[in-house]
Symmetry: C2
Subunit: 464 residues, 2 copies
């Protein structure tokens, strides 16, 4: 069968961009999901690299006709196995679709799916503008960032990807190419299909282009580290900062041990006194930023914090940010899974405490850190605790739901959280989601095995 | 039939809140749509005022079983006939659902559907916070604002309703009550059904509660009037202001004649020299605001503008805003229809020019004004030009689409723009929308005749 498909594909895409040999396709079979939980890929698949949406449309028509599973692939930086081809079929890599243009007058970038976050940031900066959210690894591609509605540390001030996407071009599993939205800040023309597709993780269509809102360049940033002796003191400071009208670019919660571990991993040192920290990045004019820093200083001391550390030099700010960002990397090797549970921001301290209790109960090590201002807490379950993994996961998820939260604020459902989606969503919501999937993808060719693919999910459903 | 339905309804809602007499139901039959274009309501309907979502669920189950059309109704401030009951059936008024609470720590308000915008603003202000967008008439109700994804003049800085809604409670036409989202700033748990329902204009479910993001209180505002001698000069100044990092609360484009007319209507005077104006509202700390005002002053003079008028006193700021806001009211009586076409912001000048040409071609008077920074231009067709209305509308819509725009950025489709939705949307998008409508509302009981109700639309489709 595969031979015949390859021949058909060669009528659509140049031969050089169709890969079948094991050594060539290997790097397309995994994403960044931790090994203990990541899904097993098929080895029997074809990797195709189309150069435009017309080619993708033809590939999808072929796949739809022949009922061949199709796996869209961006930068492969996902953490829930969303891009892993689990059935024999076609992987469509968007990597060659790299056109990008900046429309300065409208504060808009139009980027094809294969443009990486790093490339977008570069082009936007060259145009004298900015794209303030930093929704993940800079190797992530626009298509994936949009399809997964990526979040990141800078959602406090500006929100997640969804807030920045004003239009998309998307190829449906049945081959139609839709242009939804545009360079538009207001659009009420019928049901918003675009917002339905954002966050659908490549199961409703393949996003080939995005119209992205940009911001003016922020002239100045300042990074503050607020040290505290207790988690409670630190986290109770967060709403005070926010309700006083200070809107930081990022407001992160970290603990000493993890910052030290990350610094060591990087060959750096973390010398700031204190048990836990809030890392705050301020952006704006120089005046605004210093004014906000002064107010934060005041709030911090009122809340029992230790002396605030202010980083002004860009290299120093970068180092702090790098240490914060690399907590993930420093823990990665030993991790079995990384959660991204999200609760109402005022409950993040409670969730962290409950996770500590769960760790104690199972004699496990579960480090936590996260985006304090938006309620998004990352907790790692380590490989050494893999035998208790299912129980720990289940208890952390239960705790999150009980605090008014969701099991995923950033990473999405992918292939490894489908069962939990079923568990924590109302049956009617699931029914509607499956109905929508059927409507867009009647033959279930797009990312089967991923979120809300019909067959597996119905099996799951019967199980419960 | 109606008698039997009333009896059934009396088992659900207290008798006092079920209206059938003509003189009592009359005020529930219309919205603010201009008389020449507004749909004709049925007189044979029952108005019910449930007090909670359980009652609404029971009413919808009854209606679904008996195939009775149901029209959800908020403040009745819509401009496209969306709330007008055009078939014999039930009007569900949300007016009694008025519970509201502010969660200061999470910067969130949870408001039931019947809370008016004015009431929300009051409660939020009392809590020392703010809800910065001003998406319409203060008599509009939360349910309607959310269901129609309202916009308004302050979308420049903060975006439309969609950006502020983090969760909803919605009753489906089949009676299920869904809670989607929550007090959450990040949420990637499956397809985002909430965003699909936002902007669906009461055709997929009845929104009974909304979780709304608030902002800290802005300490200070300043209103600037930038006068220019030409439309081109004024509008070319807008992107310069925005790309320089100034983010006004509102940035409006108005012409002298309309400001004078509105001032007269209010018994005020408009004395500022100039042919056209940009009205800019700045918000922030006092320092920020004066700093931005200075930069705008500089930009304005570079762009050939006349002397900037700065209003500092709150009463003076209010007067300017009132004159701007009442252009609509001043024209209303003589208007046949009010458009809310939206284009990429850089094209708003072109659209205004094209509308002038259309006016000239048909010897019509078509005043224009609008939200310059978000590309949303309001044009009125007057009653005196009603014989040319269809042609004018069609040409304005064509011009808008050719400039990369949409026929509605704010008001929605309602009942009076369904035909144009069909004309300007791709057949596949329409097919998906109809599929979604069927999925949510298999018997087409909710707002039939409105956007994407199946029967009429299929008829329309066959027509084209």
């Amino acid at each position: 069968m595969m031979k015949e498909v390859v021949e058909k594909l060669e009528e659509i895409v140049e031969k050089d961009f169709i890969l079948t040999k094991k050594e060539l396709i290997e790097s397309y079979l995994f994403d960044e999901t931790s090994i203990p939980v990541r899904p097993k890929p098929t080895l029997n698949c074809i990797v195709v690299k189309p150069e435009n949406s017309e080619q993708i449309s033809r590939i999808l028509k072929l796949a739809n006709e022949k009922r061949i599973p199709v796996y869209p692939r961006g930068g492969g930086t996902g953490l829930v196995g969303g891009a892993v081809p689990t059935k024999d079929g076609i992987v469509i890599s968007l990597e060659r679709m790299k056109r990008i243009e900046v429309d300065r007058e409208n504060l808009i970038a139009v980027a094809e799916a294969g443009v990486t976050l790093g490339e977008l940031l570069k082009v936007v900066e060259e145009a004298g503008l900015s794209f303030p959210p930093h929704p993940g690894d800079e190797g992530a591609q626009i298509g994936g960032l949009v399809a997964c509605n990526a979040g990141g540390a800078r959602a406090v001030k500006h929100g997640v990807m969804r807030n920045f996407v004003k239009g998309i071009e998307v190829v449906l599993p049945t081959g139609e190419i839709l242009n939804l939205g545009g360079k538009l800040l207001k659009n009420n023309m019928g049901y918003n299909l675009m917002h339905l597709i954002l966050g659908s993780e490549g199961t409703l269509g393949i996003i080939t282009k995005a119209v992205i809102r940009l911001c003016p360049k922020a002239e100045y940033t300042l990074t503050l580290v607020l040290p505290f002796n207790s988690r409670h003191e630190a986290l109770s400071t967060v709403p005070t900062i926010l309700t006083k009208g200070i809107s930081p670019l990022a407001l992160e919660y970290v603990e000493k041990e993890l910052m030290e571990k990350s610094a060591m991993h990087l060959g750096e040192k973390w010398n700031i006194e204190g048990k836990v920290f809030l890392v705050v990045i301020l952006s704006g004019t120089q005046n605004e930023v210093y004014n906000e820093a002064e107010r934060i200083n005041q709030i911090c001391s009122e809340k029992g914090g230790l002396e605030v550390y202010v980083a002004e030099r860009q290299d120093e700010q970068n180092t702090i940010l790098k240490i914060r960002s690399n907590i993930y990397t420093a823990l990665k090797e030993e991790s079995a899974d990384i959660f991204d549970t999200t609760v109402p921001p005022s409950n993040i301290g409670k969730l962290a405490d409950m996770i500590d209790k769960i760790a104690e109960k199972y004699s496990a090590y579960i480090p936590v850190y996260g985006h304090a201002a938006d309620g998004n807490l990352h907790a790692h379950v380590m490989k050494k605790d893999i035998d208790k993994y299912e129980k720990i996961k289940s208890e952390i998820y239960e705790a999150t739901i009980n605090l008014g939260g969701v099991i995923t604020g950033e990473h999405g459902i992918g292939k490894i959280r489908v069962k939990e989606l079923y568990k924590f969503m109302s049956p009617k919501s699931i029914e509607l989601m499956i109905g929508i999937k059927k409507l867009f993808d009647p033959n279930n060719i797009l990312n089967p095995g991923n979120v809300l693919s019909i067959d597996e999910n119905q099996a799951l459903r019967t199980e419960q």
